[in-house]
């Protein structure tokens, strides 16, 4: 790449800024063209390092393209095209701008070859994505956006601190394998862990995604966490700890998802659970496992965006995504319902759909390493996915008890965006070789064996059978309006209380300090007035001669200092 302005990330960022001055129709077409332009730029770049420059003593690599960064950049662009189509009617230019800057920065971070470039794009994603949450303009969105913003900027600070230490340890800023042997490695891991929503660091996700705007949530579901997955796969493959963390991540969100009423929040818990599968793959770190992680990220972005788009369409038409208020919407929104079901079956990993060909690689990789316990946890979590994303989301919104709500079908542009995502889910499921050819390592895996298809169908359909039994006997937990406590309780209740008390304490101290400061200022002010005021000795006008003398004196002093030191 000769011209760094052709960097796909910069095309999106500057394009996102430029669109604000365009008239509506032109802007819509321009925004659809941007991901395509950036895609052409991405495909025209050869594998290797580009845009290398020297900043002070640091060697930066603005763009590093290899198999791993390519597959993430590619799916980020495909998703951006779909989201741009979904946002065709969006009038809020600030939101559109921040969406493109956010996507551009995420792609820039994925393509970054050094930690400093990564840090800069990392922080840009934090700021621009927070705007997508605030764009919903509700009180809840404002607060959740603030929490989101603070947490993600903190993640950036860990990354910066770790990078500086890493530079001191190794003398290089290059972003390759880092590992957890050094303090620097641990700090950077914490940065990634926050953005990846590791257990106990996860609540920003379920807190903020359901509060964002219709379009914003779809964009958010694509980039932030998958950027973290990429960064983990780059810096920490084969870190055993990640296997256990990932397994925990697949398992615990499903319990919360079962009893959550807001279906966009259910999908957020489900997103967290899907990330767990990818983190397990990174922790195992074999070729098969890393392939599985990359493939699963690719497939996941599509079906998760599809599910969020369908719930976004429901929110757009009905005004709520609370399961307790919905039901029977298939009568009004048959197409949205159909697309939602395709997304739900993909995430549940039904044969012929995308999740089936990607998730199985991670399970097989775990089995090949004889991790029987981890394997069982992943299988257990797969049954959980079928419940909250496979059944609960489509069932309680489009079927179940008819809420009596009637509305129009989703707008055409939303249906088209969902249609493209659904089609890609099917294409990947039916022709997995397309996805496999993009993976970082050579693929030695055949998804469609009689064993795999039958065992997977057994797992899923017997889980569905369990649902039928529970639901028909009224044992299935009813959808009720409620808030379920999660780990964020600690910082939203006692944490906030402590902070408030601390604030009162500070305010008290502030008063005393301020009055002392005022006193000092008053005294200095009077003195200054005495010397510099109209009558002051230092405000008299002096002849040029005395100035020349002072300049000569200063120069002389400078010379003496120069020779002495």
């Amino acid at each position: 790449m000769t011209n760094i302005l052709l960097h796909p990330a910069l095309i999106l960022i500057f394009g996102g800024l430029f669109q604000t001055i365009l008239p509506t129709q032109l802007r819509r077409i321009f925004l659809l063209a941007l991901p395509i332009l950036a895609g052409i730029s991405l495909l025209s770049i050869s594998f290797g390092n580009h845009g290398q420059l020297q900043l002070f003593e640091y060697q930066l690599t603005l763009l590093r393209l290899d198999q791993l960064s390519f597959i993430f950049a590619l799916i980020f662009l495909i998703a951006l095209f779909i989201v741009a189509l979904y946002a065709w009617q969006e009038k809020d230019k600030l939101q559109l701008s921040s969406m493109f800057i956010y996507a551009g920065a995420a792609i820039g971070a994925v393509l970054a070859g050094d930690l400093l470039t990564l840090f800069i794009f990392w922080e840009v994603t934090a700021v621009s994505s927070a705007i997508l949450i605030w764009a919903n303009k509700t009180k809840g969105a404002m607060r959740a956006g603030q929490r989101y913003f603070i947490i993600h900027v903190t993640s950036g600070l860990f990354l910066l601190a770790g990078s500086i230490l890493h530079y001191h340890d190794t003398g290089s800023l290059a972003f390759n394998h880092i590992g957890i042997e050094t303090l620097a490695g641990c700090l950077i891991l914490i940065a990634f862990a926050i953005k990846c929503a590791f257990p106990l660091l996860h609540n920003w996700l379920q807190d903020s995604y359901p509060e964002a705007s219709v379009v914003g949530t779809v964009a958010l579901s694509v980039y932030t966490t998958k950027l973290a997955i990429y960064a983990l796969a780059r810096g920490y493959p084969g870190t055993e700890m990640l296997i256990w963390i990932g397994a925990l991540m697949t398992a615990f969100p499903i319990f919360f998802a079962v009893i959550e009423n807001d279906l966009r929040r259910v999908l957020s818990y489900s997103l967290n659970n899907q990330l767990g599968f990818m983190v397990v793959g990174i922790g195992i770190g074999t070729e098969m496992a890393l392939n599985g992680t990359a493939a699963h990220a690719f497939a996941h972005i599509l079906y998760k965006a599809l599910l969020f788009m369908s719930m976004g369409a429901v929110l757009y038409r009905v005004g709520t995504t609370k399961a307790s208020e919905l039901g029977g919407l298939y009568k009004s929104m048959p197409w949205t319902a159909a697309f939602c079901i395709i997304g739900a079956m993909s995430i549940s990993a039904f044969p012929l759909l995308s999740g089936f060909v990607s998730k199985a690689m991670i399970l097989t990789a775990a089995a090949e390493e004889h991790l029987w316990f981890i394997w069982l946890v992943l299988l257990f979590a797969s049954a959980g996915v079928l419940d909250h994303s496979g059944i609960k989301v489509p069932f309680f919104s489009f079927f179940a008890h008819d809420s009596g709500k009637r509305c129009e079908e989703a707008p055409l542009n939303m249906l088209l965006a969902m249609g493209i995502a659904a089609a890609l889910c099917i294409v990947i499921g039916v022709y997995p070789s397309f996805l496999y050819s993009l993976l970082p390592n050579t693929v030695n895996f055949i998804p469609y064996t009689a064993s795999h298809v039958i065992t997977q169908l057994q797992l899923l359909l017997f889980s569905a059978l369990a649902f039928a039994v529970l639901y028909r006997n009224n044992w299935y937990p009813a959808e009720i309006r409620a808030t379920n406590l999660d780990f964020d309780w600690f910082y939203r209740k006692p944490g906030a209380y402590l902070l408030r008390s601390f604030g009162i304490f500070i305010a008290f101290g502030e008063k005393r300090i301020l009055s002392a400061l005022k006193k000092i200022l008053f005294v200095t002010g009077t003195k200054l007035h005495r010397h510099h005021g109209p009558e002051g000795i230092l405000s008299r006008t002096w002849p040029t001669g005395s100035m020349v003398m002072w300049v000569a004196t200063l120069l002389g002093a400078y010379l003496i200092f120069y020779y002495i030191f």
Binding site: K139, I254, F255, F256, V258, I259, Y330, K331, S332, T364, A367, E368, H370, W372, W375, L379, F380, A383, G384, L386, D387, F399, D402, R406, C407, E408, T449, A450, S451, I454, T455, Q456, L457, Q458, L459, L460, L461, F462, S463, A464, L465, A466, F467, A468, V469, L470, R472, W475, Y476, P477, R481, A482, T483, N484, L485, D486, R492
Partner: protein, 81 residues
């Protein structure tokens, strides 16, 4: 928008048809086990219908324990406001 259209899914006998179909497919999936060689990495995968009963039990366990969890973590909807 008044809509008096008749929906196939509105009739409970049709919903029953779907559920019976699910029962039938599940039964078929178990019977198939007898007629093919199952590949697996672990010995326990060879147990008869391992995936079937694992899925069924896991599902019930997840849903019922989540229902139980509600006792501890459920609060009013405006709890944080």
């Amino acid at each position: 928008m008044a809509n008096n259209k008749k929906y196939w899914l509105n009739q409970s006998k049709n919903v029953n048809k779907i559920v019976y179909l699910l029962y039938a497919v599940c039964a078929a999936l178990l019977i198939v086990e007898l007629f093919y060689h199952k590949h697996g990495h672990f010995d326990f995968e060879q147990w008869f219908g391992f995936y079937a009963w694992f899925g069924f039990i896991a599902y019930i366990f997840i849903v019922m324990s989540a229902k139980f969890l509600r006792k501890f973590i459920k609060r009013e909807e405006d709890y944080y406001d």
